[in-house]
């Protein structure tokens, strides 16, 4: 697959070398790489807080002062949710791949895309200011009236950071929606879009419709915190639970903001490494859009014991069960896609399989929590903590790492060392389960979340969890080293090292500045793999042996 044109045109990395050419770039690929750096930084800051939490909980006596412990879990939550998980896949892989997968030369609004990166970092700086000045102890949910009246942390700065961060989400999502609607290459119909694009589209819709409500909510919180009077103030007839309603109107869909791009991404990986088309493509797209829409109808299941009416709780419990249907469709389809495939257990596939397993465990325990009576007992215990970590960390972070490995040759032009990557993928899976499965048991025993201490008889499970966390830390740090190593010493990747079918694999690795020399014409759907003959057809209709 020697491409003559590749020698002529400079890649997006070599195009220009000045710092300004990066900081003022309009190229979606460079912006994606800049986001990758920012997000990695926040991932390790949030991870550092998590490390301290697990170290503290290794013994009942603990390590940190109670107030510092509160600040640590708050910072861990705020950073991981808004500064890593929500932007993770969309801003990095999404930014890099959306135009390439649909055959466009850039996103619709490159300047807004760049502005999104600046706004993201600005909000990050505001948050770091809050962190350095003394932190916040409310938990990432900022429940009123504690956050508005009693907390003595930097609630205003943290709320401001979340507010500003929302602009970044909206700018990125707006770009994706308009780009996917209007800049697809000829022949790239909706039914031929790769599932990753469907995932990004679904998540963008959720971001656009949910984030403004959170923005207004944090705005009102900031006002109340700043002037001492506000809309959630019960002394003036206000309803503190109103904060929770509007908060979860965003933050429950936010869980799907985290998982939907992962669902799309994993579909790409499974098809490529099983050398089979994804089973039930149409069902997969419908399921993703259904999840996006249903995610808005379930928010009060976070509030069953918060003081909402019991009738309302019944309604929300019921709607929560509905979300399980499209989620289960997806798991079935992934499983069937693997059946009779010629499975290659490379690192991205190991991450993808980890995603499916962990998502299933997280999803099934979600059904237990959706049950009204069960939730009253398990609410705010470690059972909930374990449940959402299985979805958000187990599934989403696995998908993110799998995606980074899969498209690493495309982004950098270099292959990563396969054995190290497989080792890291397996270590992630083991470390994750050792960390979080004991937390299901602890929750079942009744250990409440966010408490800085516990009775000594629970120490063995806590110790096991902390031991798992150290394995997980190694597994997350490893890629930093071998991926960094591969930047210099990695073997050069051809345009299509995985023999995949997407349009992004038609251009050289790394791609030239404008992605494609000529706008590609699409004639077939994605995933035209044949496990029998080992042939595959790229989306421009060319068959490869």
């Amino acid at each position: 697959m020697a491409m003559i044109a590749a020698e002529v045109e400079p890649t997006y990395l070599d195009n220009e070398h000045t710092i300004a050419s990066w900081l003022l770039t309009k190229d979606h690929k460079r912006i994606a790489m800049m986001f990758l750096v920012s997000i990695t930084v926040f991932f390790f800051i949030g991870g550092f807080a998590a490390t301290l939490i697990r170290l503290h909980l290794a013994t009942p006596e603990g390590l940190l002062q109670p107030s510092l412990y509160n600040r640590m879990f708050t910072m861990h939550g705020v950073i991981m949710v808004w500064f890593f998980l929500i932007p993770s896949i969309p801003t990095t892989l999404g930014n890099f791949l959306v135009p390439m997968m649909i055959g466009a030369h850039d996103l619709a609004f490159p300047r807004i895309n760049l502005a999104s990166w600046y706004v993201f970092n600005l909000s990050g700086l505001v948050l770091l200011y809050a962190l350095i000045m003394g932190g916040v102890d409310t938990g990432w949910t900022f429940y009123t009236p504690y956050s508005t009246v009693y907390s003595n942390g930097y609630v205003f700065a943290a709320a401001l950071a979340v507010f500003v961060n929302g602009f970044s989400s909206i700018m990125t999502a707006l770009n994706f929606v308009v780009t996917i609607h209007r800049l697809r290459a000829p022949g790239m119909t909706w039914a031929r879009l790769p599932l990753f694009i469907w995932g990004i589209y679904a998540v963008s819709v959720v971001m656009l419709l949910a984030t403004p409500v959170l923005a207004m909510d944090t705005m009102l919180l900031g006002v109340e915190r700043f002037i001492g009077v506000g809309m959630f103030d019960p002394r003036r007839g206000g309803d503190p639970i109103l904060w929770q309603h509007m908060f979860w109107f965003y933050s429950h869909p936010a869980v799907y903001i985290m998982i939907l791009p992962g669902m799309g991404l994993v579909s790409e990986l499974i098809a490529c490494y099983a050398r089979r088309p994804i089973f039930g493509y149409a069902g997969m797209t419908i399921a993703m859009m259904a999840i996006a829409i249903l995610s808005f109808f379930v928010w009060a299941h976070h509030m069953f014991v918060a003081g909402i009416s019991v009738y309302s709780a019944i309604v929300f419990s019921l709607t929560t069960f509905f979300v399980a249907v499209p989620s289960a469709i997806k798991v079935f389809n992934w499983t069937v896609s693997l059946h009779k495939g010629a499975i290659i257990f490379d690192a991205p596939m190991l991450y993808a399989l980890g995603f499916v397993l962990l998502f299933t465990i997280g999803g099934v325990t979600g059904l237990m929590l959706a049950t009204l009576g069960v939730d009253v007992a398990t609410h705010a215990t470690y059972f909930v903590v374990a449940h959402f970590h299985y979805i958000m960390v187990g599934a989403t972070v696995s998908a993110f790492f799998g995606g980074v490995h899969f498209w690493w040759p495309k982004m950098t032009g270099r292959l990563y060392p396969e054995m190290w990557a497989r080792f890291a993928a397996i270590l992630t899976f083991i470390g994750f389960n050792v960390t979080f499965f004991p937390q299901f048991i602890l929750g079942n025993l009744g250990m409440p979340r966010r408490y800085y201490t516990y009775p000594p008889e629970w120490q063995s499970w806590n110790l096991l969890s902390s031991a798992g966390a150290s394995i997980l830390a190694v597994a997350y740090l490893l890629p930093l080293f071998y991926l960094g190593w591969s930047l210099v010493y990695g073997k050069r990747a051809g345009p299509n090292p995985w023999r995949a079918t997407g349009l992004e694999w038609l251009t050289p690795s790394p791609p030239p500045k404008d992605n494609f020399e000529r706008t590609p014409v699409v004639t077939v759907g994605p995933y035209a793999y044949d496990p029998e003959t080992d042939q595959y057809v790229t989306q421009d209709g060319v068959s490869h042996a």
Binding site: L209, M219, D233
Partner: protein
């Protein structure tokens, strides 16, 4: 001549496509704005339904004539804005400039009236946390109304100011010949934003100024 210098950006095939996509982008943004202000108005109606008398009592002190003059100013500015777009689309540059200037003038008048009203509110002791006193017959719920009032009108004023900035930018582009009959999407997009800010006031107006009348 000016249009000869305009080329679509790399990701677009034609200027027409670029203009259409810009317009769609603005509509997506306006959908998020709808939810942003919609959430605020939700808190208002929740409390108004929960405490109808108390909110009505508080809203008596809103300055009706200020809000009414302002809704007139904004509706008129939406008209002049659309006339500016039409003129630009037809390549009548000086007419477009005139209508734009008038739109900017009306926007400034709006902010002037708003500023006057804030001063009046201050002397009426209805500014929560700064200068607030319950009047006879009022309940503490009053303060909720006034928090809503300042958040809503403050945010709206920020939007008007942003719109004025955009209008001035468009005026500059128009004078530089970078908006023409061949490519007038920028003025159309800013017009969308401007009329949307007008629409927000249409919804805020009855919640603030008409709630306390009998």
């Amino acid at each position: 001549m000016p249009s000869a210098t305009l080329r679509p950006e790399t990701q677009y095939a034609t200027l027409a496509q670029q203009g259409e996509v810009a317009q769609l982008g603005m509509w997506v943004f306006l959908a998020t704005e709808t939810l942003f202000f919609g959430a605020l108005i939700f808190t208002y109606y929740l409390y108004r339904l929960s405490y109808p008398e108390a909110i009505a009592e508080a809203a008596k002190d809103a300055v009706l004539w200020c809000g009414s003059v302002n809704i007139g100013l904004l509706l008129t500015s939406s008209l002049t804005m659309v006339l500016a777009i039409n003129a630009a689309a037809q390549g009548r540059r000086s007419a477009a400039t005139g209508w734009l200037l008038m739109t900017i003038g009306l926007g400034l008048c709006f902010l002037g009236v708003k500023g006057y009203e804030y001063v009046a509110d201050y002397s009426d002791h209805v500014v929560p946390a700064v200068n607030f006193a319950l009047k006879p017959g009022e309940s503490p719920v009053s303060e909720l109304f006034w928090v809503y009032y300042f958040v809503a009108t403050g945010l709206h004023a920020i939007h008007v100011t942003t719109g004025l900035g955009l209008l001035i930018y468009i005026l500059w582009r128009l004078r530089r010949g970078r908006i023409s009959a061949a490519y007038y999407a920028p003025i159309e997009v800013v017009g969308l934003y401007w009329s949307f800010v007008d629409t927000v006031w249409i919804f805020l107006y009855p919640t603030i100024y008409l709630a306390g009348r009998t």
